[in-house]
Symmetry: C3
Subunit: 332 residues, 3 copies
């Protein structure tokens, strides 16, 4: 079985883990990064493209199985991603559509009875502190905080003027929950019929995580571009609740999105000082925060007596699926 | 030997580590969390209770040895904890009494000649920036900062009005040391007659660690509820001093508290920009920050050529004690 | 081969790693820390001095090879470091001179075509937000931020008045790049002819990383004394660029400093919200942030199927050099 992914996001971890499971690996990358990926011995094939258009064809020819991640959709686009050959994706292909629409995403969380922040249809409805988010997984680019409707309107005007949005309908206006961000990573194993906590992280965001050092700075607005991830563990008493969330989420994906939730996902949350866990987003595939745990996380060690990154966990699932003649159940 | 603990705080790490040492494990948990704990293969027995009252009986019947942690006392209460059967606790039972009284705790640190913040008996004495702390290990709930006596009085009034305290004598008013928090974790091995640094962490606190992103927010006060832990290592030149603190602490517990300091403890400190280490609290048992190091910490690897969590370290100490006929020396 | 280092900074990691590679280890330490270092089984020889003057003689007699780190130069001084016997240092001895002069350091980065902040010769030239840095690797002591020339002048006056500097020509006045700090650690292997990413960290600085909890506090200025390190991973799409920086850096050291870049180094950077990586400093030897990765980092696991700290990596390079008769190529 040859497995391919796009050279970005979490591809090093994925390919490293797949190789630990004995699979053949391929990376598809833009020409300028080819030499970077060639230095790693666990990548069997480095295939490069000059034009982004060629990425889909390369993916289709390079791998029996493709592992998607956040950059895959962003780089090649939703329409083109749908051209990846049938039964080639390890994961839930249908979720791509849901992930491209933040309002639909939030509704899916609501269906799973997961606590979510209040949402505002229009700037006029805003009656509290909110965060305004742009469509797509752009690493937080353009996100801004606002204290009421007037600040929302001004912020949207600014985004329009610099061309980041065309229409205010594109954005998601969410209540800003006061608490701390915490990103819970899971793996839904179809083969073992269980959900595992694979790790947790905090995003490291430019410039907001640098600004704190200066206090309020005149003329500099906080921005939320994710440039890295920091490891964290959660208070153990939060775990049973977040596991309930995760299991409920997979049930809802099985039922509403279909055919089933496959492999890694993440619940992006804020934990309040009342110990409430409020999810403001999900990712229906591997997140970059798992890159922290190439040799396993404090949670993966509870399930496995061997180093188990999420990349390797994907490889393990593929292998176990194949051994049991169930490969079709983890591919879409 | 069957070892039991309460399902919370650091129980996953403890039970996982005990099992790595070949011990039989049991968790006592409230009914609603039973299914959560059942998913982990390293827990031999999951015993659940409907009423908190039943926890002590279950602990007494489930284990030859009980490993206490921060939630154990908080959940079952100090009076009931004293009903745990004699010579069943791995750790220093007498410290429970000291830990329940913050002023007594600080005096113990002073006896060990560890630098501590100035303490104020009454709001009237306050002449600087202070932090006001509530009794018990409540994860920082209700803690507040104040700039002088007037703010202390107002804060206490608020805590009384919402029922968090009855009397201002309950709280600890401590000088707020400007610097960075750093939590140093240790293990006192009675069997090997040494103190080991097992790790370090920074607490991740809601909402204060989220608020930094907004700067000062009108109408939102910082709160200090610990919801997670972040790994950290210390400048190596801090280690000889903190080791002196730790050894001095064990000596003082041996002499004043008795019969001896057994197993894990933590010195909660602030490190100033003059590289002074000031301890504002201690924990006389395992802390949740050790959950970061299920596969060992940057410090445990210096002592052991194998993955050594604090949970496993407890198991190792129990095994070595038993092999040498010294089990009674590590149980109280 | 007996390898020695000074007892501070990253010596535990270095000596632990060397011992894993089967080398004989020695630590040179001031008398008061002798008992601290004696507790670790991987240190074969603990040699202590009463007077700092004796450190160089002890280093010369204790080891065939000396591993330098940030504290070595700071403790024994640049002039005395040059008295370490010829061909005894694992690393690029000539870089000591460059590292002692921050302006020269920045010029070396510029030669490697690495993006750097704008620099100001005199307070009078300052036209933006800057950070003012003191000479030497003093852990950030005395560093301050200023918004324009007037604040720079006041800050320098304060440093003079407390004796931290004599002359304003000593300091480096750098544009303050808004973004987040990220420290990229590398290892240049002469033997394997490649550059490896060995890890990343964020510095944990007193008091600035504590102050964020209070917001702006009257009368307390932020200070930047490094007291610890926190692990982080970077967005994968940053890696090809930072690898280019690292390779370009080694080429420039080979050519300009000579004889060649040997072993560990670090590019200290700020990553902006436009994903620009701006380097404001480098370290031409092991940095303390590598202490996080005594059992390997998320990056070292991509190169090695075994735990590989930077300390161990040094040991591996020494061994491989010796086996191939190339020891002289990694010593200066």
């Amino acid at each position: 079985m040859r497995v391919a992914t796009l050279g970005s996001h979490s591809s090093l971890q994925i390919l490293h883990g797949l190789k630990m499971e004995g699979l053949e690996t391929a990376v598809i990358t833009e020409k300028s990064r080819e030499s970077f990926y060639r230095q790693f011995g666990f990548i069997d094939h480095v295939l490069s493209y000059q034009e982004p258009d060629q990425a889909v064809d390369l993916l289709n020819s390079a791998g029996d199985v493709i592992v998607p991640h956040g950059s895959l959709i962003e780089h090649i686009g939703l329409a083109k991603a749908s051209k990846l050959k049938d039964k080639s994706i390890f994961g839930t292909r249908n979720l791509f559509q849901w992930e491209s629409n933040q309002k639909r995403k939030m509704n899916l969380l609501r269906s799973a009875k997961i606590k979510v922040p209040k949402e505002f249809e229009s700037p006029d409805d805003v009656d509290r502190r909110v965060i305004v988010k742009l469509p797509g997984a752009k690493g937080g680019k353009g996100y801004f905080l606002a204290e009421g409707k007037e600040e929302v309107r001004k912020g949207l005007e600014r985004l329009r003027s610099i061309g980041l949005i065309k229409d205010e309908k594109e954005v998601l206006i969410q209540e800003y929950i006061v608490g701390v961000p915490m990103y819970f990573q899971f793996f839904r194993s179809v083969i073992r019929n269980r959900v595992e906590i694979t790790g947790m992280d905090i995003r490291y965001e430019s410039n907001v995580d640098g600004l704190r050092r200066l206090g309020k700075v005149d003329g500099v607005n906080p921005t939320f571009v994710v440039v890295g991830n920091i490891p964290v563990v959660a208070r153990e008493s939060l775990l049973p609740e977040i596991m309930n969330y995760a299991e409920s989420f997979t049930t809802v994906v099985d039922q509403i999105v279909g055919p089933r939730m496959i492999g890694p996902f993440c619940l992006e949350t804020v934990v309040t000082d009342e110990m409430e866990i409020v999810s403001f987003e999900f990712s229906g595939r591997i997140v970059a925060g798992t890159n922290l745990y190439v040799y396993g996380s404090p949670y993966s060690w509870l399930y496995w007596n061997e180093p188990m990154s999420v990349g390797r966990r994907i490889g393990r699932e593929l292998k176990e699926a194949q051994e049991r003649g169930k490969l079709q159940e983890v591919l879409t």
